[in-house]
Structures are given as structure tokens and as C-alpha cells.
């Protein structure tokens, strides 16, 4: 009787009934991929849930600096405020990720296995940042080809044999290297600052100041960014990721105090 009312009277075939059972049990408002309908395409493309915002990186005289804030957003809510988005991969590389945190956690697990396997060879050579960057590119691109991406934009930085390396991979496998890189909102807000103010052989202090400047702008202008940040410093000697600390914003402008006095209703 139920099928009659859906199909306008005729008795549904077994296959049709199957499809409708599938559809009615999976409410259409669910954001998840439906189980594949018989004969239909398989699509696993996901939606991100807990996400991280921008990651910034730049090269300086002695190595590479990578910075990110520690926010995990759940849609428009800042749900978690102490999420580590910079992870040390080996003794000379750091990976930072924008996007879905669970996929980043899976990536760090995968890279851990890669590094351990590499160390077990015990052949006097270890994977450097370029090799890991290449590996990540292949992983991301292959997942993209299966329509099942790891929903991240990655920045990988490291130093090996005196050579500083800074590269980026997107969730569809686009990859490149540069002297300064940003992901997420940082592409639009931080990169222009880097392009104008970055120079060769900056000192650690200068590099840090430039990153903090960009991070502050992101805090003002990116709704998913918070004030709490971490900076990773990779040199030939090793990796140091700072404890989270907070930047001091400036709100004390005269023009901010009473902006609608001349034009009421202005936004």
C-alpha cells in the first residue's frame, strides 16, 4: 500500500522498492554520501567537518619557519582552541595542514609509517623534505583521482644538507615550491605581505616578525582564525615547534571608537 502512494498506483518492481527503501531511510538532509544505488556511480567526495585555517611558511637565513594558529572550527563555530596543526615528521621536516583535521591526523599516521620504514633500512640515508613532499603529492593526487580526497592543503618545510626546502600540496594534488607559501585564507591575505616584505637571508627575528604580522592580519580578517598561534623553526640542527602563544591585537584607534557619529547606520 505504501508503494502505491509513492508511485501513483502501480506496484513497484523489486528494484524500485530497493531504491525507495534506500532513499527513505537516508533522509535527504544528511550531508553524507548515500550508499551507492544499484547501477549508479560511486561518489565518496566528503565534506570537511572539523577544519583548520591558514598555514604560512617562509625561508630565512638558517632554515624554514612555518606558522599556524591552533583553532579547530566546526562550521562557523570555533569548537576547539588547542588543535596542533603543525607536526614534526622527521628530524628535519615539519608538516602543516589546512582543512579537515581527521584527514591530517591520518596523514601524519601514514607519514610516520613511511619514516619508520625508511629508518629501518638503516642505510645511512634518510628521506628529506623533497622526498616527503613528493610522496605527499602522489598520495593527494591519487586520492583525488578516486574522488575521495584528503581534504587538506599542506605545507611541508625542512632543511637537508644545508638546502632549505619549502613546498605546498593541495587537496587535488597541485604542488609547487617557493620561498614563501601560504594556504587557505593566507593565500589572499598573507602572500601579498610576503611578496612585498620578504627578502633573502632574513634573520630568525625578522622572519618571525613577518609571520606574526601576517598572522595578526589573518586574525583580524579571517573569521575562523584565533589569536593563539604556533611557529615551527626547522634548521640543519633540527626542529623546534614553539608552545602556543597569543598575539596582541590593536583596537585602540580613534576611528574605531565612534564610527557612526558622522554617518548613523554605517556599517
Amino acid at each position: 500500500m505504501r508503494w502505491e502512494s509513492y508511485n501513483g498506483g502501480h506496484e513497484a518492481s523489486e528494484e524500485e522498492k530497493q531504491v525507495y527503501v534506500g532513499r527513505s531511510l537516508m533522509a535527504s538532509s544528511r550531508p553524507f554520501t548515500l550508499m551507492p544505488t544499484p547501477g549508479g556511480p560511486i561518489t565518496h567526495t566528503q565534506h570537511p567537518y572539523v577544519t583548520g585555517t591558514s598555514v604560512l611558511g617562509l625561508k630565512y637565513k638558517d632554515g624554514v619557519l612555518i606558522a599556524a594558529d591552533t583553532a579547530g572550527s566546526y562550521g562557523s563555530t570555533t569548537r576547539y582552541k588547542s588543535v596542533e596543526r603543525l607536526k614534526q615528521i622527521s628530524n628535519n621536516t615539519v608538516l602543516g595542514a589546512t582543512g579537515e583535521i581527521s584527514d591530517f591526523q591520518a596523514l601524519t599516521q601514514l607519514l610516520d609509517r613511511l619514516i619508520v620504514t625508511d629508518a629501518m633500512w638503516d642505510d645511512g640515508n634518510n628521506l628529506g623534505p623533497l622526498d616527503i613532499h613528493n610522496f605527499l603529492t602522489r598520495v593527494m593526487y591519487n586520492r583525488r583521482n578516486k574522488f575521495d580526497p584528503l581534504w587538506n592543503s599542506l605545507i611541508l618545510g625542512g632543511v637537508k644538507n644545508g638546502v632549505k626546502y619549502l613546498g605546498s600540496v593541495s587537496m587535488i594534488g597541485v604542488h609547487f615550491v617557493d620561498q614563501h607559501i601560504a594556504t587557505g585564507f593566507g593565500i589572499h591575505l598573507a602572500q601579498p605581505i610576503f611578496r612585498s616584505e620578504w627578502k633573502e637571508n632574513m634573520t630568525l627575528e625578522e622572519g618571525r616578525k613577518l609571520l606574526e604580522k601576517a598572522l595578526l592580519v589573518l586574525f583580524y580578517r579571517d573569521r575562523s582564525a584565533i589569536n593563539k598561534i604556533q611557529i615551527a623553526n626547522i634548521t640543519e640542527d633540527g626542529v623546534r615547534i614553539s608552545q602556543p602563544y597569543a598575539l596582541k591585537p590593536t583596537w585602540n584607534f580613534k576611528a574605531f571608537k565612534n564610527p557612526s557619529s558622522a554617518t548613523p547606520g554605517t556599517w
Binding site: A27, F32, V50, V83, S102
Partner: protein, 301 residues
Amino acid sequence: MIEDLEENWSKPCGCCEGWWACEGVVRLSKWQGLQIIALGPTFLQWDHLRFICVIVSLKFLASGSSFFSRVVTMEPMACGWTDAPHSMGTTIMAVEYDGGVIMGADSRTTTGVYVANRASDKITQLTDNVYICRSGSAADSQVVSDYVRYFLNQHTIQLGRPATVKTASTLVKELSYQNKSFLETGLIVGGWDKYEGGSVYGIPLGGTLLRLPFATGGSGSSYLYGFLDQAWKPNMTQDEAEKLVVKSISLAIARDGASGGVVRTVTINEKGVQRKFHPGDKLELFYEEIPPRPSSLLAKS
């Protein structure tokens, strides 16, 4: 009259079966007498629309030429609510304190707008020392906990000592992450082990694993961000933590339609596990809420 109705309440209709009886009632009542008397909300299907109606009294007349029925409210309802999946809209929470964890949850399970279970237990045992708070789809969260309980059972036997909270959480995360396209459940794992003491792990949608000093989840948790930002402090005692959990869940119940009922808490520490039950009428009252009193309808005259 009232006594007659109560006796005949939910008797199956003679002409058709199950919930179609309601349809039978309305249609047949046009030209025949009725056998079924239904009190309270029921639903009937009329073409493509479903109506929720309160049939107060239906009388069978021997002549069959006329009938008496009063349908008190009749409003079209979205077709989905009777088929809607069981969802625990929910408010769930776990707080770590010095020496253990307190896990708390409300007790409402909904199918669409209907409260399917007003006394559900959303804090489920995984092992003797590890419990899980479930939110989101009831089915998904049950199946994930069942699998993890099964794995941990075997793991504990092989390991020869109680499983750690970290191990339990990692198993939950693996299932949530690897099946992210099919699952819709947010989970909080909490427990006590001798290595870390009390620990709380949040596993939201997508399968991220985060160890946290306290975690909230479910639709009601939206109302608690501000409250907990102000009220949570590190290094609380068991008593402070428990009061915080009960107050938080009560506040969420007050505002979230998908949360309600009683507040259940489970305290896990070195000594063991203790379940507590805070009934809905004994919870603290907030803005615009008034104390309940016994109904005058029930007063014996």
C-alpha cells in the same frame, strides 16, 4: 463514557490492521459504525498527506447510519516524521577531574519531532573502566560502540590487564574515520586507567581524535560554549565537576528541543564506576521556568 474509552484503548480495529486501523477508522466512519476507540495522538494517512490527530471519542451506533467522532486537532505533518531515523539530538558531556572523569548526558531520543524515548541511556559501557557518550544517529552510535566493545573485550583478554582509555578512543576513531561517509555520530570517550588517570577524548563528525580536559557534543552543546568558557576551571574536584556537568546538561535541556528528560551521570575513577540519575522534575529552574505542581485533574474528589 471515559471508562468505556479507556477499556477500549488501542484495541485493534476489526476491519484492518496495525496503524492502518486509523485510516480505516476515518474512512469507514462515513458509512459504518466503528469498533476502534483511540485516545491520544495517532496518525493517519490520507492520500499523500499524513495527519496527526487526537481522536477523543468515537461512538458506535447500532443503526450504522450516523456516527459521532470528534477529532480534536488535525494538522498536516511532514511525511518524514514517522519514518525519520532515530536520532539522539542530545547533549553529552565529559569532564576530567583530579582522579577520574564525570560523563553526563540527557535522555531524549527523537524520530523527527516525536520523542521516541524519553528515558534513554546515552552513556554506554565499553569496558569496566571506559564509557562512551553517544550523540547523533542512534543506530550509528550503537553499532560503533558495539564493535568497539567487542574488540576491547578480546583485547583485554589478550593483554591481560584493563584496556587504556587511549586504546578505546583510538578504536572508536578508526571506525568513525574509515566510515566517515556512512556515519553520522559524535562520540565522547571517557574513563580511568592507571597510566593517565582520568582522560576524556572527543571524536566529532569526521573522525578527528582529540584529547581534551572536557568535551561536549550533540545539538544541545551549542548552548554551552559560552557557559563553559566561563564556568569550567582546571583542576576541579569530583564534586565541582559533577555539579558542572549536571548544571550544563540542565541548561542545554532548557533550550534545545532535541534534548530533554533526565540527566544521567557516570563517574569513573580508580575505585570504580558510579551511575547517578537526576530526574527531570528535580533539575534546577532557569529563566522563565516555574516550579511544577501536581495536576488538579488528578485530585480525588
